[in-house]
Symmetry: C2
Subunit: 144 residues, 2 copies
DNA sequence: TTTAATGCAAACATTTTGCACCCTG
DNA sequence: CAGGGTGCAAAATGTTTGCATTAAA
């Protein structure tokens, strides 16, 4: 996470932008627990719980900035808003989403990365990123 | 497509709902060209071009209904609205999206289906469906 | 001290909903 | 002809933006 934060600082200074207390807070909210993948409102709520009042507008602005730097990725978990998580490029991972309780679990798989690389090659694409969302029912919900 | 339409009719009558001219039009708009994956507004525009005026509200209502029946799936192509396509369950397919021109191309791969089934088993999930979106730059855009 | 960052409220885009009227079964 | 379907306009959601003020470099 230290390396990513330095990369963020580098991006900002390289673009005439400034590092602020607020940007640091949002950055840390995303990077301190990668498996949380909060949405913008979650970040807002989590910060407020820590007595850090940051407006939703600024949270959106900062998240968009982090996405632009390539440090954060925006994911769609089947709801009507985006979620965010640190970009762990090179490590293929997807999300397993329970259609009943909404729980989101990550999975990792190297085979898929290989298959997708091959598909890109076949179709003549230079690949940038991919997302896999798998929907089903978790063990707990199957029983209930 | 005939089979799917019958399934739609069966769902409606089984739920005390009615088949209408409008529902048939929306259904056909989705099923007549599976690779179009239009959004709600596209469906509206395409119908209007055929002198069939159906309100956006009804299009949304019908698309949601078709998704509920399992006949249509809602996909996220990285824009800020949903797209729709016939559900071709059992046939794993993903979307290859060009980050420059926005072109969407489908791909099919059996290997991925196998890998995902295995992941579901490992984690104790009963899988329902999955979506794969791969982003990159198409051949044409790489040159330009 | 210059220029970017922030908060607020208004604007936007997409999708949903309440209600009066229309149509299917 | 009873109950669901539709269009319209208004509401609801999630996200972005203009502007006056604050703060980083």
């Amino acid at each position: 996470m230290k390396k990513e934060f330095q990369k963020f600082q580098g991006y900002l200074s390289g673009h005439g932008l400034k590092m602020t207390k607020t940007r640091e807070l949002v950055f840390k909210e995303i990077f301190s627990s990668p498996a949380v993948h909060p949405n913008a409102y979650d970040v807002h709520r989590r910060l407020r719980a820590k007595r850090k009042d940051v407006s939703l507008a600024t949270i959106y602005r900062t998240l968009n900035l982090l996405v632009k730097t390539g440090l954060v990725s925006e994911i769609d978990l089947g709801e009507d808003h985006s979620h965010y998580e640190p970009e762990r490029n090179k490590i293929a991972h997807g999300h397993l989403i329970c259609l009943s309780c909404g729980k989101v679990q990550e999975f990792r798989n190297e085979e898929i990365q290989g298959v997708i690389d091959r598909i890109g090659e076949e179709k003549g694409y230079t690949l940038d990123k991919f997302s896999i969302e798998v929907f089903g029912f978790c063990q707990k919900c199957k029983k209930g």
